[in-house]
């Protein structure tokens, strides 16, 4: 972690990177890979040659806990001020399951970075929801996109893997393997071993 002892004032920024493998802007459009990068910082920053769009107050990320042992955790990323005509990009793209990385950076007041960027959260988007904010006076609407994210440990805790001794399970991994096909029929079968 960056040593902040010698600084009387610092500012921080959270940098979010979401990699969406199947992204499109219309319901019938072709999918393409799209990486969304944005931050709570007040200026564009480049991390590993990738530029992060400053969203400032339009981006809110809930707090996360830091523990000695790796534990399951989840956070919520809220993007506000989304114009209505941009909602289609969210609805028609496959956002669920997309990996998300959040790094934190420390900066002096003049913008000089202190130390390196530090990992805050690594996981994937578990679900999302959209909330509409309608302004009656101006008769315009903007939207909130709420991304619910699970960290990797949480995802692993929910994962079930392995195979069972039945044909369905075996064929999930090896579709032409018939070696487990007789297991159900063999249940409670009797053999007259040694009978004349």
């Amino acid at each position: 972690m960056a040593n902040l002892d010698t600084y009387t004032a610092v500012k921080t920024g959270l940098f979010v990177r979401i990699q969406i493998d199947e992204y499109r802007t219309t319901s019938g459009g072709a999918y393409s890979e799209q990486v969304l990068r944005f931050s709570t910082y007040d200026d564009t920053k480049v991390i590993n040659t990738e530029s992060y769009v400053p969203l400032g107050r339009l981006l809110n990320i809930t707090s996360s806990t830091s523990e000695i042992r790796p534990t399951g955790d989840s956070i919520t990323v809220t993007l506000s001020g989304i114009p209505t005509d941009a909602i289609a990009e969210i609805v028609y793209s496959k956002i669920k399951g997309a990996p998300i990385e959040i790094h934190r950076g420390y900066f002096q007041i003049n913008g000089t970075q202190i130390g390196d960027y530090e990992g805050k959260f690594f996981g994937s988007i578990n679900n999302y929801s959209i909330q509409e904010e309608y302004d009656v006076e101006s008769r315009t609407a903007s939207n909130l996109i709420i991304l619910e994210c699970n960290n990797i440990v949480n995802t692993l805790e929910q994962k079930i893997s392995g195979r069972k001794t039945n044909p369905q399970s075996q064929k999930t991994f090896y579709s032409t393997d018939t070696s487990m096909d007789r297991v159900p029929a063999l249940k409670n079968s009797k053999f007259d071993f040694g009978a004349p």
Binding site: S179, R182, F191, G194
Partner: protein, 252 residues
């Protein structure tokens, strides 16, 4: 006339009576034939009672059994996933599925699971020169016997039907594919990435092999035993592990 002469005279008159043509003579002959048949039938039934009726063996495999993953060295129970008896009811083939075949070590070399020992009903089996036929058994106290000699054959496989292996205690072993051993298997019975063992039981009442083993255990050793290798394999494996991409794991 002595008493012997009297007995001889009675026997002669009785014989002459049976040879006669009268009703009484016929009845007497019929009664004697019936008595003889009765004796013969009783004798036949007695013979039938000594025929061995065999043993009714019930096999109940578990369709919800999760195939385990084995690292290092351990004893493991076999779970029956197939069985077949030959036409004359004296040979029973049983397939015991043991565990998953594991992936590569961090250095890139393939892991290997070897068979060290096999126990049937708490008796350790010793094999003859073939490497798969039992010649003696040992109990926990080291006492040996040859009661199951040549009645049990064990064919271990590590990784699939085309991967026969030998017990580490034996110089030789089976080299045939599993589907060439199990009577009803074909080349599509591949048992992909599974460690398993086929056991052939030959019925013999005199040598007290009248059923299959109720408690079959195997001692296996996986060359993958170091914590780093194990954790890496369990994280990456898409079949039984977490399926984490290699790019997301820093091995340095």
């Amino acid at each position: 006339m002595s008493f012997i002469d009297k007995i001889g005279s009675f026997a002669s008159s009785a014989f002459n009576f049976l040879k006669g043509d009268g009703i009484a003579n016929n009845l007497a002959r019929t009664a004697l034939i019936g008595l003889a048949l009765n004796k013969l039938q009783k004798s036949t039934n007695k013979d039938n009672e000594t025929v061995d009726p065999g043993t009714e063996v019930t096999i109940d495999p578990d369709t919800q059994y999760s195939v385990p993953v084995l690292y290092g060295s351990a004893f493991i129970d076999g779970k029956i996933t197939d069985a077949k008896m030959d036409a004359n009811n004296t040979t029973l083939w049983v397939c015991y599925t043991l565990c998953e075949k594991t992936g590569n070590l961090i250095d890139g070399s393939a892991s290997a699971i070897s068979f060290n020992e096999i126990y049937i009903d708490n008796f350790r089996l010793s094999l003859n020169d073939t490497g798969y036929t039992v010649d003696s058994i040992f109990d926990d106290d080291g006492n040996s016997g040859t009661v199951w000699a040549n009645l049990i054959e064990v064919y271990p496989f590590s990784g699939g039907s085309t991967s026969p292996v030998s017990f580490t205690t034996e110089a030789a072993g089976n080299t045939a594919n599993a589907y060439d051993l199990m009577p009803h298997w074909t080349s599509t019975d591949t048992m992909n990435d599974l460690v398993f063992c086929i056991v052939k039981y030959k019925y013999n009442k005199k040598q007290k092999l009248t059923t299959i083993g109720q408690n079959v255990k195997f001692k296996l050793t996986n060359t993958m035993s170091q914590p780093g290798d194990v954790l890496n394999d369990y994280l990456q494996n898409t079949r039984y592990g977490a399926g984490v991409p290699a790019a997301e794991i820093d091995l340095v």
